[in-house]
């Protein structure tokens, strides 16, 4: 075996071991790398044990059509978030991003209240991977080819 060949095997073997180690670490930390939970995941978590109100977490999903409203005080915004399976009611006081719309994907950070409402302290809009001019979007809607404002 030439020295070059041996070095090739050493570097290759080292890379293989390191990649495996990295994959194992990432798999172990899976829970912590997830940026948000879907309403279904949230429901499954609450089934196992109630989420204490001091625990901070993020939920993500689509804003349900016709669900956005305001509370009696005029500043608290209420809406529902869904992943088309489960629905979570959300309350939020603050500024909404430009892309916030019904049918749009969002990520909300906050905590669970005892009654199953999510009290958001921050709402972020999640943009999808579709890029097109306005005319094309309208043409698609007219032709009935529209996939909706969600993934």
């Amino acid at each position: 075996m030439t020295r070059k060949r041996r070095r090739l095997y050493i570097v290759g073997g080292f890379m293989l071991i390191f990649a495996t180690a990295a994959a194992l670490v990432l798999a172990a930390f899976e829970e912590n790398i997830v940026f948000f939970y879907s309403p279904t995941e949230l429901a499954r978590m609450m089934e196992q044990q109630p989420i204490p109100p001091e625990r901070r977490l993020r939920i993500g999903g689509l804003v349900v059509e016709d669900s956005v409203g305001r509370d009696m005080d005029g500043v608290t915004i209420t809406f529902r978030v869904t992943d088309t399976v489960e629905v979570v009611p959300v309350k939020f006081r603050g500024l909404l991003p430009d892309l916030f719309r019904e049918g749009q994907g969002i990520v909300a950070e906050g905590s669970m209240a005892g009654d199953g409402t999510f009290i958001a302290t921050e709402v972020l809009a999640k943009h999808d991977e579709n890029y097109m001019p306005k005319e094309v979007a309208e043409a698609l809607k007219e032709a009935g080819q529209w996939q909706g404002d969600h993934e």
Partner: protein, 241 residues
């Protein structure tokens, strides 16, 4: 012709000197066309409006950030295994270019994120892994400077580059493996691009412009590095004579 044909520094310098102006010219032409298409001709997005134009810089910069690192890692492997004298040089020369593209991707992404997401920064898997990439570049450059002996520095930096290479697939697939705020891939995906052709073309031309710019800078930096080594050798020879 083996890979050792261009191992001769004089031969490489001659060839690089001939290619460099062409690569520079190509960069200028592509950049002009690309910027015109991206800023003037391309339509506004149906959701993002004119903010979508940031993408024409952000996405090619992010691609280059990953491309430069892949180049850096491959060059480092060639330097470690085959001891190709120019591989070391190519790896060292590509690091600051890659770091700059990564920085550009992070900054433009942040500027886009504020109006669109509602935040400058979040710690999701995509953004965090790209930030780690930026630190890997900085660490690689620092390691070259920290060790005086050029040969030892090259070897240590090459090992770091290979260790960091595991981050590249993590960046690419972070949006598929985990829930992230960052959207999934629009161009390089299995079902074909999810981006209208009126926006895809300016994006691809900008990407080519960035590639040509990389070649221009890489050749310039490698020639500079070769000249620096020659100066050092000449000084040493002068002192000993």
């Amino acid at each position: 012709m083996s890979i050792h044909y261009f191992a001769n520094p004089a031969r490489f310098t001659r060839l690089a000197g001939r290619i460099q102006p062409w690569a520079g010219g190509l960069t200028a032409v592509l950049l002009l066309i690309g910027l015109y298409m991206a800023l003037v001709e391309a339509p506004a997005d149906y959701q993002q409006g004119d903010t979508v134009r940031i993408m024409f810089v952000h996405v090619p910069a992010a691609w280059m950030a990953m491309f430069c690192y892949t180049f850096l890692a491959v060059a480092s492997a060639v330097a470690l295994i085959w001891r190709h004298p120019l591989a070391d040089l190519a790896a060292k020369a590509s690091a600051p270019i890659g770091a700059s593209f990564t920085f550009l991707a992070l900054v433009t992404g942040s500027i886009w994120g504020k109006p669109m997401w509602g935040t400058w920064w979040v710690w999701d898997a995509r953004l965090t892994s790209v930030l780690i990439l930026f630190f890997l570049y900085l660490g690689y450059m620092a390691l070259w400077e920290a060790i005086e002996d050029g040969q030892k520095a090259g070897k240590a930096a090459a090992v770091l580059a290979l260790v960091g290479a595991v981050n590249v697939p993590i960046i690419k697939f972070s949006v598929d493996w985990w829930n992230t705020l960052h959207q999934p891939a629009s161009v390089l995906r299995m079902d074909g691009p999810a981006i209208h052709s009126s926006m895809l073309w300016p994006l691809l031309i900008m990407a080519l412009a960035f590639k040509a710019y990389f070649v221009t800078l890489l050749l310039a930096r490698m020639r500079m590095e070769l000249n620096l080594r020659r100066i050092r050798a000449m000084r040493l020879a002068e002192r000993t004579s």
